[in-house]
């Protein structure tokens, strides 16, 4: 079954662009939240990750900060 994947990002951050491209290349569907314009989602991201840098991924409740390719692959089983 497809995993529930959320990406908290800003439109300008290079690692956000790369992490989203990586998910697309691997046919992983995800919800993308722009924390630059969505204040509630920004607060949610800070609460979940305990920090303020983007990107943050929420993969079935597991939090990944930054484009940690190995960890993301492992959590997605790809």
């Amino acid at each position: 079954m497809a995993k529930n994947v959320k990406v908290y990002s800003t439109p300008t951050c290079p690692w956000c662009i790369r992490v989203k491209q990586f998910l697309k290349d691997n046919n992983i569907a995800f919800e993308d939240y722009d924390v630059g314009s969505d204040r509630l989602k920004a607060d949610e991201m800070v609460k979940k990750s305990g920090q303020m840098a983007v990107p943050v991924l929420d993969i079935e409740g597991e939090i990944v900060v930054g484009f940690d390719r190995e960890k993301i692959k492992q959590l997605l089983g790809i």
Partner: protein, 299 residues
């Protein structure tokens, strides 16, 4: 054995890769990331052919150009050591080892740190080294930019559109950097420039709440939630053994991008080339590749 290994994929490394592909060299690119500092730049208005392009967009075009030749790019690989062994060059990374006739070091520079109390604790908890990335999270908040050169001005131009109030904490008597950018920053309504000032500590609880500064001998505390560190760069050159460097750690190259070790070439911001610009790094990358091509053909 490869003809060439290119270390780094910023403007210098990517341009070198395009030339290497067109020369049909047996080569690969080994790099931590794609785009280098260009990826973190905001608006670029001085790269020939583009009157205006953003850093991430220019990097996307660079990357497309590089990959259009089916070049082998090892991303996320950290180079640990480059050394000469007999006639060949050994490149050791955290994942593999490579042997090549020649190498181009185009590993660029990284942000210098403040080295003050609170910096480690609040990294990513209000302290950022990338205004382009994390800036939007500070909308309607007070922020401080540390620095007074081009990268500080670039960060300021991004943050004045987003933040409530922007302090620029500059240790020199006046701002440096490009005149056009400086004027735009000085004209902004929500900017306060504090010259002759140094940060002495970053304070907070869970996240940053203020910075302590020293201006002309007087201590002040500024209430800010974001601190953007833009105090300059240091070259990523420590992994190269036996190569001559200047006092800043930049690799010394001649006009053909040769170092003191035959077969080891270098290009872009990691070298002592006089100016650090995207267009210059790209040009240096092409020169380094043409030199490496000639060298590899003879060895």
């Amino acid at each position: 054995m490869h003809d060439l290994i290119i270390i780094g994929a910023g403007p210098a490394g990517i341009t070198a890769s395009v030339y290497a592909a067109r020369k049909k060299m047996d080569f690969r690119v080994v790099t931590g990331d794609i785009g280098g500092q260009t990826a973190w730049s905001g608006d670029i208005e001085n790269y020939t052919g583009y009157q205006f392009i953003s850093g991430p967009e220019l990097v996307r075009k660079f990357e497309e150009h590089m990959l259009s030749y089916n070049t082998s790019v090892k991303e996320g690989e950290e180079v640990i050591e480059v050394s000469k062994a007999g006639e060949s060059i050994l490149i050791k990374t955290d994942k593999a080892s490579y042997q090549a006739k020649s190498v181009i070091i185009a590993s660029g520079k990284r942000s210098k740190e403040l080295n003050v109390p609170g910096e480690k604790e609040y990294k990513n908890k209000g302290i950022s080294y990338c205004a382009t990335c994390d800036g939007p999270l500070f909308s309607a908040k007070n922020v401080a930019i540390i620095g007074g050169g081009n990268s500080a001005l670039d960060a300021a131009l991004q943050l004045i559109k987003i933040a409530k109030h922007v302090y620029i904490i500059n240790n020199a008597p006046e701002l440096g950097g490009e005149a056009m950018m400086r004027h735009k920053v000085e004209e902004a309504q929500n900017v306060k420039i504090l010259n002759n000032s140094n940060v002495t500590a970053v304070l907070g609880e869970k996240m940053v709440s203020s910075v302590k500064i020293n201006q002309d001998g007087n201590e002040k505390v500024l209430s800010v939630e974001g601190v953007f560190v833009e105090i300059g760069l240091i070259p990523n050159s420590s992994f190269v053994k036996g190569v001559e460097k200047n006092s800043r750690g930049e690799i010394k190259v001649n006009s053909r991008n040769e170092t003191n070790i035959p077969g080891i070439f270098a290009a872009g911001d990691v070298t002592d080339v006089p100016e650090k610009q995207i267009v210059i790094a790209a040009g240096e990358g092409s020169k380094a590749c043409l030199s490496a091509f000639r060298y590899a053909a003879q060895h």
